[in-house]
Amino acid sequence: MTAASTAAAAATLPRPGPWGIGRYEVAGQLVYFEVSWGDWQRDVAWARAMLADHGVGPGVGPGSGLVIVSGMPESPWFDPFETAARELGAPYSIGEIYAFEAFRTGMYARRLPITLIFGIDRTVAEGLGDELAAVVARVPTIVARPDAAGLLAAAGARPFIVARVGPALAVECPHRSGAHLNDAEWTLAERGGELFLSTAGPRAHQVREAPLGLRGTLTEGPCGCGRSGQRVTIPEGK
C-alpha cells in the first residue's frame, strides 16, 4: 500500500535536523525557536497526560471526538496534542484559526460526536456567529484561548483555558486552578504582572528569564489534579 511503502522509504532516510522551527512574537520582535525530536516526544507525553484529564467521564480516550483549533504555524504548540489524541485512540479533526474557516469547527461539532473542542480562539468563536450557542450546547468540554473565554461564557459554556506562553503551552486541568505549564520543561517568573520564561528541561531552545510580553499571574503549590507545578492565569484578551 502507498502509505506503507512511502513510510518504509522514509524510514531509510536520516533526520539530521530538529522536528521543526516555531516562532512567537514579543513586543513586535520575532523570536524563533527550535523544537528537537526529543523535545517533541516529551511534549507529546505531556499532552497525552493533559488530554487524558479532559473530556467527559474518564477523559479523552478511544472514541472521544476532538476538534483541535489551531493554524499551521501553531503546530509546534498543538501538534503534540494532535499526536497525543491519536495515541489515545481519540479521532480528531482540525478547525483552523481563521475567521473564514470558523465554519469548519462548527461543521465538525454539528456533524460528529465531538466531546472536546481544544484551542478555540476569539476569531473562530466570533466567526461562528449564531452557531456558537449551538456548538456550546452540543460539546461537553471546551478548552479555549483566553481571548475567547468571555464569548464562550456568554454563550453558556464554562471553558477551560489553553494559552500559548512564548514557546510553551499552558493547559488548565478540570480543577480550574490556572493553566498548567509542563514544569519539567519550562519555568515562569512574574514581575509586576509581566511574565518571564526560563527553560528547565534539555530543550533545544534555551532561554533564561526571557520576557514574553504577556501579563499574567502565577499560582504555585499542589493542584487538585495531583500536579505540583506552576499554573498561570492569563487575562482575557491575550
Partner: protein
C-alpha cells in the same frame, strides 16, 4: 529506498503492466470491502444491480460499477443523517482523523483515515517533494492549511525541517524574515499568497529572497500566465499540484508536463463528462478532455469509489520524460464553469486573463457572480490593489473594457480593495464562481 532521482524508484517507474496488475489486485480487495461496509456504495450498486461477484477484473470494475457524485454523498448525508454521506467503512471510533474538503463549492465533504505516524493523504507527497529536490536537513517553509491534515508530515518523511510561520493572509511580510534566516528550499503557495507577494515585491529583492529555493508548489486554483511569469522572474520554479478527486494529490515533476497521479494510490479514469452511467460512458481517449473519476486504492476507511470529481482534465498514460510511468493529467477547469451570457459562452479563465492585463487588477482576484449557468447579465466582483489605484472610476472603465474584449459582453462590476475580497476566501482559495 530513495535514490538520487526517485523517492521510490521501483514504484514510480513501474511498467504500465505492473501498475495495472497492482490496481486490479487492490480493486478486487476493495470491491467486497466497500459493498459490505459503505452504505452509499451498497445503495448505488443495488440501484445499478451490481454485486461484488460481477466484478472480477479491472475491466469489470470500470464497465459496471456505478459512479458516485458529490450530490450523491450530500443527499445520502442529509437523508440518512450520516455525517460521512455513507462513505465510512468503519466505526467513527476506529478512525484517527476526520478532515474535510475545502468547501469552496458547497458544504465540505468529510473523509477519514486510520493511521500511525504519517498522515496517509500526504504520504505520496514525499515522492513529489523528493522530485523538487527537498533532501534531509533542508529547511522548508511549512506553509499552507491543515484542513487536509498536517502537510509537514511529507516534509518530515523526506527528512526536511519545517519552519512553521504564518503564511496566511497578511503573514507574508514576516514570512520573508523566516526565509532570510533559514534559507528554505521549498514553500507551498496559493493564489492569495501570490497577491500578497506581488505587493511585497515592490519593496523587496525577490530574486535574492528566493535564491535558496529549489522550487515552490502552487495549488488550489489555476496559476495565471502573469503570476507564473512573475514567479519565474524571481527565480522560483513552480510545481503545480491538484487534488485527484479528494483521494490524494497529483504534482508536476521537473518536466512540468502534467500532474503525476500516483496510480498505486488512486485509480484514475477520465470519462465523458456527459455520461451518467457506466453503460453509456466511455473512457475518453488519451489526451482528450474528460472528467476525472477517482477510486481510492489506499484508504479503507472512507474510500471514494468511482467518484465523479467535476474536474475537467486531459489525461495521458504515456510515460513522462522524467522517467515516471504513472498517469499524468492537466486540469482544465470545473465541470459547469462554462457560463453563457447573452448567448456567448466563456469560462472563468477568460476573465482571469483579461484582469491580468490591467495593472491594478493583475493579481486577478475576482468572483463571477452567477446564480445560474445561463445568465442575462455578466456580474463580476473584482479586487484591486488600493496602493496603486489612483482613480476607481478610471479603473472601472479599463476593467470593463478588458472584460468586454475577452468575453464579448460588457460586465456589471463590483470593485473592492483586494483585502476585502481576500476576506471572502476559504481554505486558501477564493471561490471564482459564486451565486451571490
Amino acid at each position: 529506498m530513495p535514490d538520487e532521482r526517485f523517492f521510490e524508484p521501483e514504484i514510480e517507474t513501474m511498467p504500465r503492466a505492473g501498475i495495472a496488475a497492482l490496481q486490479e489486485e487492490r480493486i478486487l480487495e476493495l470491491v467486497p470491502h466497500v459493498y459490505e461496509r459503505s452504505a452509499l456504495v451498497r445503495k448505488k450498486w443495488e440501484e445499478a444491480r451490481v454485486k461484488p461477484s460481477d466484478v472480477n477484473s479491472l475491466a469489470d470494475f470500470t464497465e459496471r460499477v456505478p459512479f458516485i457524485t458529490k450530490d450523491d454523498i450530500r443527499q445520502f448525508r442529509d437523508r440518512a443523517q450520516d455525517p460521512f454521506g455513507g462513505l465510512l467503512c468503519t466505526d467513527y471510533a476506529d478512525t484517527t482523523t476526520v478532515f474535510s474538503t475545502s468547501g469552496t463549492t458547497g458544504d465540505a465533504t468529510l473523509y477519514a483515515h486510520a493511521w500511525n505516524r504519517w498522515h496517509p493523504f500526504w504520504a505520496a507527497t514525499a515522492r513529489d517533494l523528493w522530485e523538487i529536490g527537498v533532501r534531509p536537513g533542508d529547511y522548508v517553509l511549512g506553509s499552507g492549511f491543515k484542513m487536509r491534515g498536517p502537510l509537514y508530515h511529507a516534509d518530515h518523511m523526506v527528512g526536511a525541517i519545517p519552519v512553521l510561520v504564518n503564511t496566511g493572509i497578511g503573514g507574508w511580510a514576516t514570512a520573508l524574515d523566516a526565509i532570510r534566516r533559514y534559507r528554505p528550499v521549498y514553500a507551498q503557495l496559493t493564489g492569495l499568497a501570490l497577491a500578497e507577494l506581488d505587493r511585497l515585491s515592490r519593496t523587496t529583492d525577490m530574486r535574492e529572497l528566493f535564491s535558496s529555493f529549489k522550487g515552490a508548489a502552487f495549488a488550489g486554483e489555476p496559476l495565471g500566465a502573469r503570476a507564473r511569469e512573475q514567479l519565474e522572474s524571481w527565480g522560483v520554479e513552480v510545481y503545480l499540484w491538484t487534488s485527484t478527486g479528494d483521494v490524494t494529490g497529483a504534482w508536476e515533476c521537473g518536466q512540468h508536463d502534467g500532474c503525476h497521479a500516483w496510480e498505486d494510490c488512486v485509480l484514475l479514469e477520465s470519462v465523458d463528462p456527459a455520461a451518467t452511467t457506466p453503460a453509456t460512458s466511455a473512457a475518453v481517449a488519451d489526451g482528450e478532455l474528460g472528467e476525472l473519476v477517482a477510486t481510492s486504492l489506499d484508504n479503507p476507511v472512507t474510500p471514494m469509489v468511482r467518484f465523479r470529481s467535476d474536474d475537467i482534465i486531459r489525461m495521458t498514460k504515456q510515460p513522462c520524460a522524467c522517467g515516471r510511468t504513472h498517469a499524468r493529467f492537466w486540469p482544465v477547469g470545473r465541470k459547469g464553469d462554462e457560463t453563457i451570457v447573452a448567448g456567448r459562452s466563456f469560462v472563468p479563465m477568460d476573465i482571469w486573463r483579461a484582469l491580468e492585463g490591467v495593472p491594478e487588477t493583475s493579481t486577478a482576484l475576482f468572483q463571477l457572480v452567477r446564480p445560474a449557468r445561463e445568465i442575462d447579465e455578466l456580474r463580476v466582483r473584482v479586487g484591486y490593489d488600493p496602493d496603486t489605484t489612483t482613480s476607481v472610476p478610471d479603473l472601472r472603465d479599463r476593467v470593463s473594457e478588458a472584460i468586454t474584449a475577452a468575453v464579448g459582453v460588457p460586465p456589471v462590476l463590483e470593485l473592492l480593495p483586494e483585502p476585502e475580497l481576500l476576506a471572502r476566501g476559504r481554505g486558501g482559495k477564493l471561490p471564482r464562481v459564486v451565486k451571490a
